[in-house]
Symmetry: C2
Subunit: 268 residues, 2 copies
């Protein structure tokens, strides 16, 4: 494979740095996939690939070479980079010579389809990218249908979301609502039972009815779930807190609830 | 309260910096508590306080002043510091003028006492301080009895453990074994049912017997649970993985298992 060699100053490399540093003004839904694992997900899901940056000198495996060729075929642009440039662009050590710039799919609430037993997680004003990523990893594992984001505070394309989700941010469908009331209307129209994670005045999470379409709402790390969700009159669900801490980490509480719902739905 | 004013170069301030930067050679089990929340736990639990560093100019609340006086009474040494020095020593913004150097309690496996329905978490070679802290927060919340650490890779006094545990690293008892076999003998002698978290050849976590004393073993983020635990012939427990990711974040999987055990024990 013969590719034009570029350096750090080339616009394609600058874009990678801007994305990695979470700068503003990057093209919509654009993220950087590093290494074999993430690029395999890029290939597998068929998401659009804008640019491949390939460093043959830093490739350890035959598989990396094969994937580089496949990515080059799919990419709008493909360049070769030096080991030094790769080291400056990659976030993690040893990305096996592979960096690609790709685009997350767009999912549309108007056309999104659910089964009768769908499981949805709503994150309202979640702030920490690592928590969002950890949740996407759990959502994949428990077979949740999609993520709904309201009062969004972190980008789905943030490098830490991709890393902590182990690439699942590329796979798990996510819908973004500018207005909480639109998300509530949408859930109601789609006949979801909606539960707000909050221990105050709540039903024990083991005793809840998880039949039919279920949506679980978790809030921001500092302030919890925002007012409009409560105003809609949804039931609260609580995980008992038996010690002196007054809350769990949000990715822990959401995961416990998601797996509880899954266990009920699947009859475990 | 009249205290001697010290600066950044004073040994008491240097020690704080060494602990915050996770340097080696700091005194055993010594940690830095910042702000009202953590220092309230220090006061409440009665752990030994070595040093108080108090910055009255940066105190926002009357409670902070009251706690500073109580900490000064309890501390072997107490000093006053400037806002500038506080800013250099504190990890988080606005610690309400309060920094203390305190010591975690020592718990001894030989004398540790359990009820008949005890719940223990074993972390084998866990690497990431944030994961350990998140787990301690869950352990407090679900009323687990103690943490057992084998192949320890991270210090209980690491600032990130304290922060991500929301101070629960001061409260949740933890026992540290140099040798995995000693931990296994100790659990057997204390009549624990031991389950290894591993989806391969496992029993579904919902169907397990959690009666009596229960110990759950989770492993390192990269390599899982080490050989000796398997060689001891313990049952494996699995959380079904329904997607394409092959594992959950370790603090998520351990939390799902801990709450499952608690729900069975408490008849939820």
């Amino acid at each position: 494979m013969e590719l034009q060699q570029i350096g750090l100053q080339h616009p394609a490399a600058s874009l990678v740095r801007d994305i990695q540093n979470n700068r503003t003004g990057i093209p919509r839904r654009t993220f950087v996939a590093e290494g074999l694992f993430e690029n395999n997900i890029v290939l597998e899901t068929g998401v659009p690939v804008e640019t491949l940056l390939w460093c043959p000198d830093a490739a350890y495996s035959d598989e990396a070479k094969k994937r580089a060729a496949q990515l080059a075929d799919r990419a709008r642009r493909a360049y070769q980079i030096s080991e030094k440039t790769l080291a400056r662009l990659a976030e993690r050590p040893n990305p096996d010579g592979l960096l690609s710039v790709a685009r997350l799919p767009d999912w549309d609430p108007a056309t999104f389809e659910f089964g009768d037993d769908a499981l949805v997680l709503v994150t309202d004003a979640l702030e920490i990218p690592g928590n969002l990523g950890t949740l996407l990893r759990t959502m994949d594992a428990c077979g949740a249908d999609c993520l709904v984001m309201t009062n969004r505070r972190t980008r789905m394309t943030h490098p830490k979301v991709l890393r902590s989700s182990q690439g699942m941010s590329i796979k798990v469908p996510s819908l973004d609502f500018d207005d909480v009331d639109d998300a509530i209307d949408w859930l109601k129209r789609n006949r979801f039972r909606v539960y707000i994670a909050d221990t105050d005045d709540s039903v024990n999470y083991r005793e809840l009815d998880y039949r039919g379409r279920t949506a679980l709402v978790v809030g921001s790390e500092r302030f919890g779930v925002s007012r409009p969700w409560y105003d809609a009159g949804f039931q609260r669900v609580g995980i008992p807190m038996l010690g002196s801490a007054d809350s769990l980490n949000v990715s822990v509480s959401a995961s416990v609830l998601l797996y509880e719902a899954r266990a009920h739905k699947n009859g475990w």
